[in-house]
Amino acid sequence: MNNDLYHDQIIKWSKKTDNNKRLENPDCSATVSNPLCGDRVTIEVEIEGDVIKDMSCQIKGCMLCRASGSILAKLAGGMKYSELKNMALDLEQALKSQTDNPESFPETYRMFYPVKKHRSRHSCVLLPFEGVIKSVSGLHGIGDK
């Protein structure tokens, strides 16, 4: 029996709570949910031009979703929104692709490689990204680039 899906790193990240704090002056926010498993993610973003300044991520959901959200919230500060969108695409592709190659995952998300073979759980990992994209794409002039 294998233990790889919930390995130490995932567990550690899933328990981080520092990005749960709400932002004082978010430029945008959004809530997304996954009806199949009841996960719900609320994202707040501070953004200047194309650059994300700060982000919070409140998650009612499973460990995969919480771990993914914690990493994203940590990473996002200082990142370009376009980069984040590309990372989301890369991650989705890596999860869904037919070939089994951990290298295809964005480096900071390589710990999610074991999720690959559990199709029904891909959406848990992707949900925080969806939240950011939904949130920012509501802002005029950025989202529709």
Binding site: Y6, G38, C62, H118, R121
Partner: protein, 409 residues
């Protein structure tokens, strides 16, 4: 002599040949039971010897297929303890059965008529009535539940009133395991001239029944939960009522006369079996209920009661904010236990139980979101038992839960 679940387990290829992943502790029976080889064989035999459409053909295969199909109907009638096989309608499943009823009875509703269901219901017994409510301006009302997850039948007398046309409730909850006491309910319903529908999806697997004793007018269940095939279910109704309902789901093989403006319908059960029925699956279902009826059912019930109790007591002993939904130990319940764990998502529990312990559970809302909202839990994890489960499965479950709490907690 004690019941030997191994004697049932040997009938299942799927249990005899564990995958490379190791032993399988299948505790997801309330979602779908496994199916014994004799059911599979009955269907293979039918498809290779008697495959044909039914009801109208005059050639050998059609006659044999029709005979087999009608024998399946009789076998199901026998299982339900009713005399007239023509009260048995083959459907696609419990959900299809309730939809046929809701849409057909719906044709007779008037504005402001009421349908009474309960807060304990599976979505299958909620959504169809909501559709009729939205379409026709009837009102769907909900019998409340007790804090231990039973339908609060004390409210029934007050809530069933002259506008109430239908009372449709679960006979056994797929979440709390509570079993509905139908004796008084049936009288209350009939006193007001309403009909009582029982959702038997979770009670049908308990073995042969005496439907008449329940006092219901309709009863639905699914093949796949009584060790039978997917794609088939049963709607039972009293003949004199079925005869007076116009079917809302139409097609071939259910009409008497088709005109361009209007058509008339065959007698039950055919009027409710629009189109080609699930022939092979009905035959598989008959094989399943005959197989089950041949088991030591008293033995099975006390065996499953004991395992259920072990699960409940085992969970209670674990530290870590575990809350068991439904009637407490000692009270009657179905052989299933749903529970929530503070701070743990049911999907995480299910995943770890599967990956590390080979235990198959189900987590989430179990198609009963209103119930979870009321019990104020964000989903639950469910272990549900069937005839082939044994103490080893319970051991694996309890060990696994301990591990889960350690890893995830």
């Amino acid at each position: 002599m004690a019941f030997d679940s191994g004697l049932a387990a040997v009938d299942f290829s799927i249990l005899r040949t564990p995958g490379k992943e190791g032993e399988l502790h299948y505790l997801d029976n309330a979602a779908m039971a496994l199916t014994p080889d004799c059911v599979i064989n009955a269907m293979v035999e039918h498809d290779t010897l008697r495959r044909s459409n039914v009801k109208r053909g005059l050639h050998r295969l059609a006659e044999e297929a029709t005979e087999a199909f009608e024998e399946a109907r009789a076998a199901v009638a026998g299982y339900l303890g009713i005399k007239d096989p023509d009260e048995v309608v083959f459907t696609g499943g419990a959900t299809a059965g309730i939809n046929i009823l809701a849409h057909s009875l719906g044709l007779m509703f008037e504005r402001n008529d009421e349908v009474l269901i309960s807060q304990l219901e599976h979505h299958s017994n909620i959504i169809p009535w909501q559709v009729i409510q939205q379409r026709q301006g009837i009102k769907v009302r909900y019998l409340p539940i007790t804090s231990d997850g039973r339908i609060n039948l004390e409210c029934a007398e007050e809530m069933i009133r002259s506008r109430t046309k239908i009372v449709s409730v679960t006979h056994g909850s797929n979440v709390t395991g509570a079993i509905t006491d139908t004796r008084n309910l049936s009288d209350l319903v009939h006193d007001k001239g309403a009909f009582l529908i029982l959702d038997g999806a979770q009670t049908a697997p308990g073995g042969p029944m005496e439907l008449n004793v329940l006092g219901a007018d309709f009863y639905v269940f699914s093949g796949h939960k009584v060790y039978g095939p997917t794609g088939v279910g049963v709607l039972w109704g009293r003949k004199e009522i079925l005869k007076n309902i116009s079917p809302a789901i139409g097609g071939g093989e259910m009409i008497r006369d088709v005109g361009l403006e209007k058509s008339t319908f065959l007698d039950p059960p055919h009027r409710f079996e629009a189109g080609t029925p699930p022939v092979t699956q009905a035959i598989g279902l008959a094989a399943a209920v005959k197989w089950l009826a041949g088991k030591d059912l008293n033995g099975m019930h006390s065996h499953l009661r004991r395992l259920t109790l072990r699960i409940m007591e085992g969970l209670t002993e674990l530290s870590g904010g575990i809350k068991i939904l439904g009637p407490e130990t000692g009270m009657e319940r179905l052989p299933l236990v749903s529970f929530s764990v503070d701070g743990l998502h049911p999907h995480d529990i299910c995943q770890v139980m599967n990956d590390r312990h080979g235990v198959a559970l189900r987590g989430g809302f179990h198609c009963a979101q209103p119930l979870h909202d009321l019990l104020e839990v964000d989903g639950s994890t469910r272990a549900s038992l069937a005839i082939y489960n044994n103490d080893k499965d319970v051991d694996a479950f309890l060990n696994g839960m301990e591990d889960c709490l350690k890893i995830l907690g």
